[in-house]
Symmetry: D2
């Protein structure tokens, strides 16, 4: 079958015929999403990328929708499904309980990234256990469920960590808890929508002012905008770092936290150094700050993502109608390769259609 | 009545007659413990120290045992009690739920430290709500319950934070979880005893080898000893920083963590700088590390501390018989002031007897 | 203003001009829902019904949508809001934490039922803390949020209780857990939708076969139908009693439970006696059964209800378009009184429009 | 080796030489405890009792202490150990997570009771995973850890269930929560000690007045005594049924519960019928009552039991010195058989010494 392949650590992607042995229920892929990780692999700068054992290539792609070609488990033929991208090590207690996001051994595989062929191809064959059904009404935006699943897990983890104290407000909601999301890209917007849905008081930040489209999106969701270049003494109960920018942003984030504050690190910092003095470190102690790394969603988080996308399609029509920035057809090979190499300005999600 | 007073930010301590208005049940103080914070206040280097409103002095002391002089609430006259040292702001949801350790406003007071007279005096008058009964069988070591209460809270918080994942082992205990406690002082030893009691696999670390007494203590409790000066690739599910030494120890601690590891910061780092590179920061993210400040125990933690001290008195007779390093009588003014100014080598706890 | 009033324990309802002193933000009522409790009060058979102190009448109604007439707190003028129906005692720790559903003293009040004027009137004046904003896109069905809030709380409580064990499946979802909802009325359908949204395997039961509309609803949601008149050995991880029928149904429910099963009692049994033999009682013990009463939702549950109704409007268009069975205009006094006295066949919700 | 055997459903016990193949670390049994279940098996009235597959006899005994004869896992030769009595099915998610107490399939085995040879014999051979180390200081009373482990689990489960609401008091302890333990036998006393240790306000009940020894025990622990034959309107936040008497006691218990009350069923009711009217059933609903079956402790509960027995030995010397009512030597065959057949008045625990 036709597939998009890479050969890490080499740069470049190809569209080629492949022949790989797989078993399981056959799913015809209808579309893939492209994310920053795909582009890092194509650029040859993602050091963790690796082909599956016994292969000299890796099929790219960890965001996909497909159609189930036969009944499988509780799923009926014709159901639109999204395959789960990370699969557990089969040994540690977290993986044995369906939580490969907390794999202890590090021996998990990730489709299109590490040790497992990805989903950018005509068909996959899979165990129905790893296929999440998609409500047909959100077929157009459901590709967002994969990145959103990571955030569903992250927000759930934040609430788990903060259960160390009384974090619900006097009215038992989260309405008094102020969260700052740093980054206005795809991840920043989805994080903000999700936190708003859980009832938090959410601000979204960038070091530049918002574009017109961003302003309309923030207004529709009910977000406050914060320009991190401007001085501020505003404090937050939680900060989510979703920009992956310079390490200094983490120092900025710590300084924004209230007592008992939670700093969630989601973005992959690429440059700079974070320096913490004894005063900074003492402040983490006596103010009961928690700094926690957030990564990967598993099956329950995909299910939650489907629920939330369905809700948001009704509730936030402007925002959800801007989720898909561009679609390229697999037959248009030049555009596909271009989309895998370059992000377009203002992009939320670029899709490849099969 | 007679009291030990300080006048922060000035250095020095006095034993003097004071006259302060208080209401509540009268408790005759029988002994106080001295800790590092007391000595920092006496040295004039504890910046947070402050006298109560309308006073130009502060009675020192946050570790005390006393005898209740009349029935009060459910407590009978003659009961040995320990007063709780931190009192809530009365406004935030944590303080309203008895959790001043997570005070949100910062408007809590702390006996002998911040805005509230301490317990180094002949009598205190207090609400029985803040008096924790002490089993008479542990009267000799019960002064340890105040520092231990902070650790009870800290270990409970660690387990709360780690509830974000499956942290119990396949046999539902914590026996497979390895914890490294950095620091072999009073706090390090108490932390290790407590973690061992909860079933963890505990190692205790110092940058020097253990003394003979330490070796016997570690053997009795069942601790492994780690010399942090030696190279090691050993990894831990959790690290508790209880040494308060140079910031570099935190870098050491992060490097020792397994996937999903928990780093609890309890010690107050006094020097150095912690520098984290992008690789370090990315590792916190993709390995789901949590770094959390740990401070202060409240009433339930005092109760747990009494239970554990009672258990340990039977189970660890060598260790518990070494808890009290020195006792000085309040009538021996020179020794009292000396004890407030200087830690003796090998000290676990120095007491003042009234 | 005009209001619908009752005088418990007398039967009958009136539409009359009233004059009651209230303070707070003014909300113009736009519609009310009628539920079984309203009809019991009108029939004079609801023994708990009582007028507010100093009043000889009670304004009926605990389900309402209104429009906020001025900015209030974070809410803007013109926002559609739903007032919360139960208000806490202000004394117990649950009420002080926004959880009047678990009021310990019993001194809570309930709008239109117990000690507080209800919402069937032209205006209410209220603290914005008790007003839940309604997404404008679900204005047509949002009246369902009040009954749904009770179920949001109930399902959350079920999951809290079952956290006593490992209730999530090997894939970390609830997909392997089978729940039987007894009752196909408004409550039974809403419970089933909610449980399905949380990923459970849901069956809905009645002692008769389903109507055509019910069949289409069950198909759309993905429910299995169980006729309780037929013999069955099928077992469930949980049973929700939502029928309020004869006590014998509870015996039926207990017999349907697997080991560790949860029986949630939501319906108000009206007749019969539940008899449990020693064998029945022993079985509850050695099979770790939990039987728990479920009642009332508070503010976080209203917020969750709004989210779920928004999701369901997209996902279950047939079902949600059948939520509102009938609307009567307040000006049509005869129809209003008739609607308050009689349920029509197949009714899901009857509304009064103002 | 020599063993005490039974042949259910026949009555009677024998001391005989047996030859059974087992593998694992060898543990020399030093003593066994006898409980009510053993006596029911010996009487032939315990219907669940069964020999292991391929055997026509069952070695009796599920309470044992032994000495490990070689190093095994982390345990050293010579360690006193207690074997865990229930072993999981190896299939369901609870058993795979070390929680055979919540076995879903029912295919667990129980030493000396159901499908697994018990511990009343010279040696057992076992996996060290199932051997819990015993502090040498409590060797005399450690046999109580097996029954206590069941209660450790039960109290933990009660607290898990009650986490559905705010159950901690305004001072964050359980001091305001009143628990009634019904039954003053071994189980009732141990339950009361444990609840007291967790800080609850505990009453213990019988339908007769206390004996002198009981009075001294209740005084030492700080228990209130309730005579259930006397009329009382006293209400409790929780009731633990530990008497296993007539079903009517459960009706009594439900009537004693406050709003949100928890009724834990631990005793095996042997006679009578519990009849609940619609008013009773409605009250369970609108008062949010939870009735939950409590059974079996697993490894973490054995560890907690060891901790608590160690604490209590110091704290409650009168009570703990009355734990062991009688010891019979295995060489005194007549006394052993008598002890297996008959409970002596005032018995807390009878031991068989090897």
């Amino acid at each position: 079958m036709k597939a998009i392949t890479v050969r890490p650590p080499e740069s470049g992607a190809s569209i080629e015929e492949i022949n790989i042995g797989e078993s399981g229920s056959r799913v015809k892929i209808i579309e893939n999403g492209i994310c920053g990780t795909d582009r890092e692999i194509v650029k040859g700068i993602m050091s963790a990328a690796s082909a599956p054992k016994n292969y000299d290539f890796l099929v790219l792609g960890h965001e996909a929708l497909g159609i189930l070609e036969d009944d499988a488990g509780d799923l009926k033929k014709g159901t639109i499904v999204m395959p789960i991208n990370r699969r557990g090590c089969g040994k540690c207690i977290n993986c044995l309980n369906g939580r490969a996001d907390f794999c202890e051994t590090g021996d998990f595989v990730e489709a299109g990234i590490k040790g497992m062929h990805g989903f950018m191809r005509e068909y996959i064959y899979d165990d129905p256990e790893y296929l999440v059904p998609v409500p047909s009404q959100i077929r157009d935006i459901a590709i967002m469920a994969q990145p959103l699943s990571d955030l569903e897990k992250s927000v759930a983890e934040m609430m788990d960590v903060q259960d160390r104290l009384h974090w619900r407000c006097k009215d038992a909601t989260y309405g008094c808890r102020k969260i700052l999301v740093i980054g206005t890209g795809t991840i920043g917007i989805l994080f903000s929508m999700l936190l708003k849905t859980y009832g938090f008081d959410v601000s979204i930040a960038n070091r530049r002012g918002p574009t017109d489209v961003e302003t309309r999106i923030f207004d529709e969701i009910g977000l406050k905008f914060v320009n991190t270049s401007a001085h501020s003494n505003e404090k937050y109960d939680g900060v989510i770092e979703a920009s992956g920018s310079d390490a200094s942003v983490i120092g900025y984030a710590i300084a924004r936290l209230k007592n008992n504050g939670f700093l969630g690190l989601f973005g992959f910092t690429q440059s700079g150094t974070l320096s913490l003095s004894p005063v900074d470190l003492q402040s983490i102690v006596y103010r009961s700050i928690s700094i926690t790394g957030l990564i990967n969603g598993q099956k329950p988080h995909f299910e939650m993502a489907m629920n939330h996308l369905t809700q948001w399609k009704t509730q936030y029509p402007f925002t959800t109608s801007h989720f898909i920035t561009r679609s390229v057809n697999i037959s248009d090979q030049k555009s596909v390769i271009d989309a895998l190499e370059n992000r377009i300005p203002g992009e939320i999600k670029t899709k490849i259609l099969w």
